[in-house]
């Protein structure tokens, strides 16, 4: 397991790449959910939510 994480000495570069992609995608989805909640909160008929 630690050998896998070490990536033959390239851990910083490989995990820095994979991690940035994961972070970017998670943040994008989170921001979209937040944006949707903000719009629905502005709708007049709240009892439907």
């Amino acid at each position: 397991m630690s050998e896998f994480l070490a990536m033959g000495g390239y851990a910083f570069y490989v995990w820095g790449s994979v991690g940035a992609c994961a972070l970017g995608m998670v943040l994008e989805v989170w921001m979209l959910k937040h944006r949707r909640r903000a719009i629905l909160a502005r709708l007049p008929r709240k009892e439907l939510a």
Binding site: M7, F12, V14, C21, L32, R35, I39
Partner: protein, 247 residues
Amino acid sequence: MNHSLVNWFKFASPASFYPLAGRLIPYFAAVAMALLAAGLWIGLLVAPTDAQQGEGYRIIFVHVPVSWMSMFIYCVMAFWAALGLSFNTRLSGMMTSALAPTGALFAFLSLWTGALWGKPMWGAWWVWDARLTSQLILFFLYLGFIALQAAIDDPRRADKAGAILALVGVINVPIIYFSVQWWNTLHQGASVSMTKAPSMAHTMLLGMLLMALAFWAYTIAVALMRVRCIILERELTSEWVKKNAME
């Protein structure tokens, strides 16, 4: 009346596209998750170690798919832009806007993962060569598109201005793609060619394709989520939104 025509134009209306998009999102999200898991498993665990670059080459499994997506999304934006300018359909402009932030994200990730690959292999985070510079311009085109649309208050006019920028900017995509052939560059040539037999191990190719398909499904799911937000924001006062948008 032609039935297929009727169906297509039915979904060109935001009010009828909104629920359809909502139904499609979970499927594309599930496909994206499954393909991501498979692609990462093959890319990080199954694919053999590279003879020259050791484990460091595994960056390819994110770098190449995100770079493909950054170029492909811009082409799809140009397609929706052309459709919107030709037929004056409202949904086309909304789709163009919905894709731009995701394209910008992939363009950024392409530069980011490229820097993390360039440092150990070339000894430099960044060089001003044709491939890298044209990809940086693609990132700026996405940011320019988003900024231009944000600067125009009337959404329909913002769509038109954005569509023209998307169509003019699409010239950059073939420049990026062929930059490695047209100019002397530090960047290696195309990883996958349509005309030549694959030069890499089959598991490597499979991992890259799975990741590319995963990002495809992700992009569709996220673009549909964003277009639903855009539709709601623009039609907040209309009757159908008040009745149906909560579903």
